[in-house]
């Protein structure tokens, strides 16, 4: 099914039929990943640039593998920090890359809105691999794929995103995507880590983790940022773990069968105990595998999209 969207900038304005197409197509690619030769020639001759202005080994490797397994030529362009510190403007960097004739740009940047800006200064297909604290659509799609694969559906499910919602791009994309697919989304965390206006997005706010466990089918546990700036928003990781950490005792106490997701990397002993991070409820490594399949589906659907029709 041809996607309506030409780029993947975020999930806020992506239709449920597009999300459905991506998730359905990813099923085929997951199968490719299970074969002895995990590669198909589909994007032969297409060039993809992974433009990473922020360190993110996982997302980058996942995209890189997805590209290579589709037989695209892929190049990594990593810059740590902003264009300002590099001495070349973002626009100049992009124009230089474009001059080398590329087809798609996968972009990760610390500043929100950069993927959108990129579509204005470039002719390439743009895929957002995370922009500031805005969106991380491919992560949300792989989360949704993983939930659907495990529970068979998204519609009607109750999903709670736990942790640092205020500094998370994963949260926002999950909220938009899951809501589009008919799931009921809530967020759980200390008040200082939840944006003041999140309720306006139709999201329920919970401050008690036990309540979150009892009310939901799925918990998507976000990484707690250990950097100084984010940490000023809660007293200590010890206190966070005590009141919001997912532990065996807490799960047993609530006697509830919930599916646990985590986008990684995990801070063991902070947002989730080691026991739970390796336990039966979680599908953390499955998410990583699915990440490649979902990204292959996105690259395929956008990279072979025909014409300008909508």
């Amino acid at each position: 099914m041809q996607l309506k969207t030409k780029h993947l900038l975020g999930l806020e304005n992506v239709s449920s039929s597009d999300i459905q197409s991506i998730l359905d197509t990813a099923v085929s690619f997951k199968q490719v990943l299970e074969r002895p030769i995990k590669k198909v020639p589909t994007l032969q001759g297409k060039t993809v640039v992974n433009l990473f202005y922020e360190n993110s080994t996982r997302t980058r490797i996942s995209f890189e593998l997805a590209e290579k397994r589709l037989s695209a030529d892929s190049v990594n362009f990593s810059v740590s920090g902003s264009s300002v510190s590099k001495g070349e403007t973002f626009k100049d960097t992009v124009r230089n890359i474009e001059a080398m004739k590329v087809d798609m740009i996968v972009v990760r940047h610390g500043s929100a809105g950069v993927p959108q800006y990129l579509t204005k200064i470039s002719d390439s297909v743009v895929i957002n691999a995370g922009d500031g604290i805005h969106e991380h659509p491919t992560q949300a799609l792989l989360d949704m794929y993983s939930i659907r694969e495990k529970l068979g559906k998204l519609e009607g499910l109750k999903v709670c995103i736990v942790g640092d919602i205020a500094h998370s791009r994963v949260a926002l994309s999950n909220i938009f995507g899951l809501q589009a697919m008919g799931a009921e989304v809530s967020v759980c965390g200390p008040a200082t880590l939840i944006p003041r206006n999140i309720g306006d997005l139709g999201v329920k706010v919970i401050h008690n983790i036990d309540e979150a466990i009892q009310e939901n089918d799925v918990l998507n546990i976000l990484r707690i940022q250990l950097e100084r700036k984010a940490r000023a928003a809660f007293p200590s990781t010890r206190e966070y773990h005590k009141y919001y950490g997912i532990t065996k005792e807490r799960m047993e106490k609530n006697k509830k069968d919930v599916l646990l997701l985590h986008p990684g990397p995990i801070n063991r002993g902070v947002e989730i105990s080691s026991e739970m991070a390796d336990g039966e409820h979680q599908i953390i490594l499955e998410q990583v595998t699915n990440g490649v399949a979902v990204r292959m589906a996105i690259l395929y659907l956008l990279g072979t999209r025909q014409g300008e029709d909508n």
């Binding site: 099923v27 085929s28 074969r35 198909v40 589909t42 072979t304 025909q306």
Partner: protein, 178 residues
């Protein structure tokens, strides 16, 4: 589109399938080490019928695979519509097996080229043979079928439409003009 001729009716079609089943067994010197692999969409149903037929003749249940070659196509840049990807269904190891690839109509040979590439990515079979219900000519690649149901010479502005009960509600082969 207008129908120029009904080339095969159900009776003729079933007779051909029976003959093709025999030919498969004969060329493979028996049903051992054999895999029937149908190409989506109609090749899949033909393959299923061939498998069933072989079961009734030889009393051996030959493994059946289904291959989707969308990801291996060579026409992404020239097509008007993006092809929909669907899953292959090959739940067994194909290494050192004799594969019989089944499709409904053999035309340019490009789909078969895609299928051969796709199969190689699943493993290394001993042999691959091609079995097609209809060969309409106009090959663009050096590919030829080992087992052919019926040769139907066509002109370039004609098309062969295979209809199967499972998918189209009838068993028949038509020659149409486009």
């Amino acid at each position: 589109m207008n129908i120029k001729a009904k080339i095969l009716d159900q009776e003729a079609l079933l007779r051909i399938i029976t003959r093709m089943s025999h030919e498969i067994i004969e060329k493979n010197k028996g049903p051992e080490n054999l895999i029937i692999m149908g190409l989506r969409t109609r090749g899949e149903y033909l393959a299923t019928r061939l498998r069933d037929k072989i079961l009734s003749i030889e009393n051996v249940d030959v493994p059946l695979g289904i291959l989707d070659v969308t990801l291996y196509r060579d026409d992404f840049r020239t097509r008007l519509k993006q092809p929909e990807v669907s899953v292959s269904n090959i739940t067994f190891d194909i290494t050192d097996k004799n594969i019989v690839l089944v499709d409904d109509v053999l035309y340019t040979g490009r789909t078969i080229r895609s299928a051969l590439c796709a199969i190689m990515d699943f493993g290394r079979p001993a042999t691959i043979k091609l079995c097609c219900l209809v060969d309409r000519g106009h090959r663009q690649l050096p590919i030829k079928a080992d087992i052919i149901g019926k040769n139907i010479p066509t002109s370039i502005n004609e098309e062969v439409r295979v209809k199967l009960l499972e998918h189209d509600g009838e068993d028949a082969v038509y020659l149409v003009e486009v």
